[in-house]
Amino acid sequence: MKILTIVPAYNEAGSIEATITHIRAVDLDLEIVVIDDCSTDQTAALAYAAGVDVVRLPINLGIGGAVQTGFRFAVDNHFDIAVQVDGDGQHDPAFIPNLIAPILEDRADVVVGSRFIRREGFQSLFMRRLGIRLFQHLNRLLIRQKITDSTSGFRAYNAAALRVLQHNYPVDYPEPEALVLLKKRRFRLAEVPVLMRNRHAGESSISGWKSIYYMIKVTLSILIESVRLPDG
């Protein structure tokens, strides 16, 4: 069983080493690939120095394009499972075994780490939570399954899901939309509780006026994805 951790990172020099150390501390045979999304700081150099695989994108693609590069890496190198762990330190790698358990037991194809099942740890900011609530209800309506944390990027995928996502993964703010996309292709989704930390360093990509654009854009994307034909 080959398991890959995909670590998308954009200017995360302050936390990338710690993220890699924490992944290595997990009692599993995990390979690590850092997708450096054209960082302007030392992120790539630090990742190289840590001795992990590093894919450097020559032009900044944003989180969706970076993560998809990881999916392609996973498929090209015949991994059975891939776990996305953000490079900013919000995702605690200690939960990776819980995250992949439903896939190993063949109960799910895609597993989302949710901070809202047990309501512990960093619960995000008020506005962000409001948005997450909206997507929760929207998703429940469209895919008929309750996903409490649809914006969480802390996820595990099996090989079948990866094969689809390597060709078909949303761009700007991909997480909520990807769930609709996967569910429509009859992949089984599951959620497990995780703790999230506030980021070690760096800033959230979504703040201020951007959050309003984010909400409108994601809502539109989800609605359109839900009426799109699976082959489209």
Binding site: I35, V54, R56, P58, T69, R72, F73
Partner: protein
Amino acid sequence: MDNIQITLIASSALFLFFIFELTRKKRIRESYSLVWFLAGLVLLVFSVFRGLLDKLAALFGVVYAPALIIPVILLMGLLLGIHFSIVISKLTEDNKRLIQEVGLMKHRIRQLETENKPK
């Protein structure tokens, strides 16, 4: 034929020539120049046959013929805008794939270089 008509015909012809030159120098692809040639031809036809616009307006029940021009131009502009959105979206998607491929290939090259380093 009065001055205004001569000016219009000359401008239309100049426009067509401009598009032709751009296409000839490969500044515009043939497939994209097609729509501009069409636009130039329409301009030319309407400047040569002055009565055409009035007849068309009468057909649509428009009393003041020049009023017909505005919605037609507006519609054309909109369609062109949408057409460019489609082209840009495709370019962006292609670009994304290329960037991903370049990143993955550079990683692979680095891997092969370290594997084959002379001892």
